[in-house]
Subunit: 196 residues, 2 copies
């Protein structure tokens, strides 16, 4: 996940712009961030931004796609490294918690980008590729008897809903302790809920 998305060459101007945009969008908000603001933060000119991206929204879209692609790659690695649905889902929760702590802006942007009035054409996170993969993990666990038989969407929501809620609490500053401290507790609740 730390890997740079394929559409962005490391060290290039586009990357600086995207990094600056992430910071500004999460701190001040998308609509309170002007293009000159982004130029200043990325130490680039306004013209450069419009040379590399179609418009302001295009920057947000590239940012969103880059982040979801990175998360998707992490999930695919998890699928390779873990055999059971139990282990895979626990690894997912661990990764989400660690990502929140190591890159708070990225997690916040991914969780709320769709609901922040811009990116109207993008699919919401919970129907995006990463969430599809998480549903697939749950589905396979249901087929091999690890997870009780029920609606897959319900099972996935219940299995990860608590963790996501805790992540938002952490992002909102309501939870003081680092998320990994709560991992065992949340996982036990979540797995008890769906385990066969």
């Amino acid at each position: 996940m730390a890997r740079t998305p394929a559409n962005v060459q490391p060290g290039q101007i586009s990357e600086r712009i995207i990094a600056a945009a992430l910071q500004l969008f999460t701190q001040r908000g998308y609509f309170s961030t002007s293009v000159p603001d982004m130029a200043r933060a990325a130490q680039v000119s306004v013209g450069s931004i419009y040379h590399h991206f179609k418009d302001k929204e295009d920057v947000a879209r590239a940012l969103y796609l880059g982040l979801t692609v990175g998360l998707q790659e992490a999930l695919e690695k998890i699928a390779l490294d873990n055999a059971t649905a139990h282990d895979r889902c626990r690894a997912v929760m661990t990764t989400l918690f660690e990502l929140t702590e190591s890159n708070r802006d990225a997690m916040e942007f991914m969780l709320y980008a769709k609901h922040r009035d811009f990116l109207p054409s993008e699919r919401p996170v919970c129907s995006s590729k990463p969430f599809e993969t998480m549903r697939a993990f749950v589905q396979s666990g249901m087929e091999n008897g690890e997870i009780r038989n029920m609606d897959v969407m319900v099972a996935t929501s219940c299995l990860f809903g608590g963790a996501i809620r805790l992540i938002t609490a952490r992002l909102d500053g309501v939870l003081a302790e680092p998320l990994p401290d709560r991992l065992d507790g949340v996982w036990e609740c979540a797995w008890r809920g769906v385990a066969a």
Copy 2:
């Protein structure tokens, strides 16, 4: 909860403005809604809006407060009508599902208002009065032995996280069936997870 908040007199202009704002904010987004748009939708003049509210953000704040007050009243009624933490929390989930179906805009606005770049000074939903009340329900259940002993924030997140995730799926159009159809399934998962 259907009751009109105390700060808004029924049938008055303020109420029409707030109702129109809710619809426009959720459909087009806060920043894509101009004050003339709101005036047109509420069939009021621009000057009238600025007479009743300080500015555009003030309308959003009144809307947010009105909705959370309504929800809080519903929760207090639940506390009166139900004795055990089990029954109270199940009633909360039922109410949230029904509210989503009956007033989709209201639920969407409450869930995402804080994260939509406006209302910067408001506390996020999960630290607002309604969520405090839900945590209190869980806390009491922990004290009388209905719920396993653990961090209250973790327990509350796990108990309601699945339901909230399903609500967002429904709001995003990912879930086709009405939420009440899934109530039993979600509740069973949620309660299994935290029950003593």
